[in-house]
Symmetry: C2
Subunit: 216 residues, 2 copies
């Protein structure tokens, strides 16, 4: 994975997609500038999860945008996705790496500063600081990092890093200014009236900050 | 898998185990004569599922009793279980076989007579007719096969076959008399006051019927 792939990371949520077809929302978002897609499904049969993964993979073919699967290594293997995103209660990283091999992307959620540091011992492809701000998307009760925590995590990690949780057009720029390579968003895109425009706007905000860093 | 391994097939359910430790219940059941164990967990984090699978695998080591994992091929691979049991809404059989390789056990639930026949086209290791009788264990609303349906399924299948659903000391003998190689039970063992005695009693009923078939 290239570090740039983290710039605008879309995490799906069918429940928040206003009843719209998930493939359509994802394709509009990719058209608008999304650089990475994670299919996240918590309440779904394995068979349906695989079918959805295969449809998204076909939809993304040729776009250059990698497709990751949340948690389920078997689903990722079944659809030959580009990798998985795992959390702290999902499959341990070393087992996931063994099953997926060295070439697949494995991203890891880090929910405390200790986990940011522990992740430096792993060869994960990126870490996602979670959450930057509290949201209704995650039912977990975690202490948000805030901008200060995110900034500290960016200094402490040796990995590509993004923020997730409360990331939208109002917060994405400052999150990147904290040192993140990008932001992961759910509702700011999937619940937007126009996922294409929402993505385009977010991408331009993020690119603007990344340009400042490169130039400055 | 040997056909005899289906004789008394324990499917776990921690919620029905009266608060007792799952490993203890399983070991008592194996001591009593259980020939196959399936770890079934529907509401559990992947990490906890793997940890439980590893504990059960260690507990069963040396017993000769194979350990299967319900639905989750990634968990089965992570713990190097002997195989998986999949249902009609789980991973499609051909994908599971590709991921697990030719040597692992793959059992399949068949819920209609059509599915019994369709399974003859697959090289599954066994089929489980589900349910023989309605139970509270499965929330699904399926039409039970009854003894007559089970008997017909036993004639139609080319695979080792067991019945599941309402199997207990009152029904197991007749289920085997219908032609099944064994029965899969949940509450008749895990909710029994003494899982060892319950298993021993069931095993003796089943062996008695299997002996009759061999002799007669």
């Amino acid at each position: 994975m290239r570090r740039e792939d983290l710039a605008l990371y879309l995490v799906t949520d069918r429940g928040l997609s206003l009843g719209r077809d998930l493939e359509k929302v994802v394709l509009q978002a990719v058209e608008g500038g999304v650089t990475l897609v994670q299919l996240r499904e918590k309440e779904i049969d394995t068979r349906e999860f695989i079918a959805l993964g295969l449809r998204l993979k076909a939809a993304l073919a040729g776009s250059g945008v990698p497709l990751l699967i949340n948690d389920r290594v078997d689903v990722a293997m079944a659809v030959d996705a580009d990798g998985v995103h795992i959390g702290q209660s999902d499959m341990p990283y070393d087992i996931a790496r063994r099953l997926l091999g060295p070439d697949k992307i494995i991203g890891l959620s880090v929910e405390t500063m200790d986990e940011v540091i522990q992740a430096n011992a792993l060869d994960v492809d990126y870490v996602a600081v979670s959450p930057v701000f509290a949201t209704h998307t995650k039912t977990d009760t975690l202490t948000p990092f805030g901008y200060e925590g995110l900034e500290r995590a960016c200094r402490l990690t040796r990995h590509p890093i993004c923020g997730i949780g409360g990331m939208n057009a109002d917060t994405a720029g400052r999150a990147v200014a904290c040192g993140a390579d990008g932001v992961a968003v759910v509702s700011a895109i999937v619940s937007a009236p126009d996922p294409y425009l929402a993505s385009k706007n977010l991408k331009s905000i993020i690119d603007n900050e990344l340009d400042k860093r490169r130039l400055g």
